[in-house]
């Protein structure tokens, strides 16, 4: 009898974020703010047919809502979210990648009005879906690594 070896063990209840583009797993954890929310499993650089390399994050006993996981749009636009209950996948959904982001990112330009007045930031997504850039609606600058700007 053979036992299938799991590199990342299966969870009974919680949320599995699969197909994260490598090496963004740690950014995913940071953006979700789940590093103190119980057991977390982070796997990086798995082989993937679709994307070459992928990362996986498993959050035990926490059912993450779409409002929370959609914040991953800029670091893991290709990710799939699996909600696990009683060891079974009860919900599977993609990440919604909107065209605009309000209040999600900070503008790194110190002379941008969003860093001077108390107003929510507002960015527009440009470029390819898998490698997005964002443009600040106010100072109009374009940023290449928008995942680093998530508040």
């Amino acid at each position: 009898m053979t036992t299938k070896a799991h590199k990342v063990y299966a969870i009974e209840n919680g949320t599995v974020i699969d197909h994260i583009p490598s090496p963004n797993a740690l950014k995913v954890v940071k953006i979700l703010g789940v590093h103190q929310e119980g057991i977390l499993t982070v796997g990086m650089n798995f082989k993937s047919k679709k994307q070459g390399r992928k990362d996986i994050v498993k959050v035990e006993n926490l059912k993450l809502t779409a409002a929370v996981t959609d914040r991953l749009a800029l670091v893991a636009p290709t990710a799939t979210i699996n909600i696990i209950e009683g060891g079974k996948v009860t919900e599977k959904r993609p990440i919604k990648v909107p065209l605009e982001f309000k209040g999600l990112l900070r503008c790194p330009n110190p002379n941008c009005i969003t860093n001077v007045e108390e107003i929510p930031t507002h960015f527009k997504r440009e470029g390819e879906l898998t490698k997005p850039t964002v443009r600040c609606r106010y100072c109009e600058r374009i940023y290449k690594d928008p995942g680093d700007l998530v508040i």
């Binding site: 330009n109 002379n111 941008c112 009005i113 969003t114 001077v116 007045e117 108390e118 107003i119 600040c136 609606r137 106010y138 100072c139 109009e140 600058r141 374009i142």
Partner: protein, 305 residues
Amino acid sequence: MEMLGRSIVSIRDFPKEEIQTIVQKSLEVKAGKWSGVLKDKVLATLFFEPSTRTRLSFESAMVSMGGQTIGFADANVSSAKKGESLADTIRTVTGYCDAIVMRHPVEGAARLASEVATVPVINAGDGANQHPTQTFLDLVTIQEEFGRLSNLRIGMLGDLKYGRTVHSLAKALSLFGAQQVFISPPSLRMPGYTQEQLKQVGADYEEIEDISELTQELDVLYVTRIQKERFADFQEYERVAGAYTINRSAFEVLGEKCRVMHPLPRVDEISTELDETENAIYFRQAHNGIPTRQALLGLVLGVIQ
């Protein structure tokens, strides 16, 4: 094209067809059509940062078409000094006027103002970001001179890194298929992010360091001032600034018909010996600020269609 009530914040908000219409309306205004249409209109000029040319140009534009202006020319006399937020200043002023023109040192200030104002906001410069009415008057001058905006060979010389004027103009000209040559010292090249945007719209451009490297004559040379404060070393500034001065002998490579433009103020970068030549169109360019700003005001206030 619906312009009534619209704010003019960034040249990026205007597709090619709208730019053409605005240029055409500006030339109509210059030709005497639409005179007096700003009668009974009040323009608030909010200059949180000093500017002589742009402010006077807007005030003259308004007054000479029958309108009036209110406002301030120094942030120290406004409530900003008392700690009022920009949004609150605009929310208040919007009730006193039909349109607002604003210059502010912070980038994106005009966009924010346009979101909270109930009247059109015209951006007269927001930090290093945008100064759209300058771009429109540049285009009006080119159209007036050549009868077209397309298929022109245009050089931009000097400080291409910090000069917001050339960034906006280069983007606008790209829409019209201009061949552009960026001529600057390596330290003042057109920034990477602007070049990225130009590539996105399929702009045709090359970069050189000196006009002697030009392979073809130019229709227009757009000169910008190299600012002393950009250099830590004064000798380095003098060396660079000296190398980017245009005088009569430059026309051997620029071509005898090449027109010279400049957003002004000029310091030493264009020799005064050019001022009386047909090549020099920079003062006419500055004067075109009046009909261009009148056309824009008339369009957003709905009195020019």
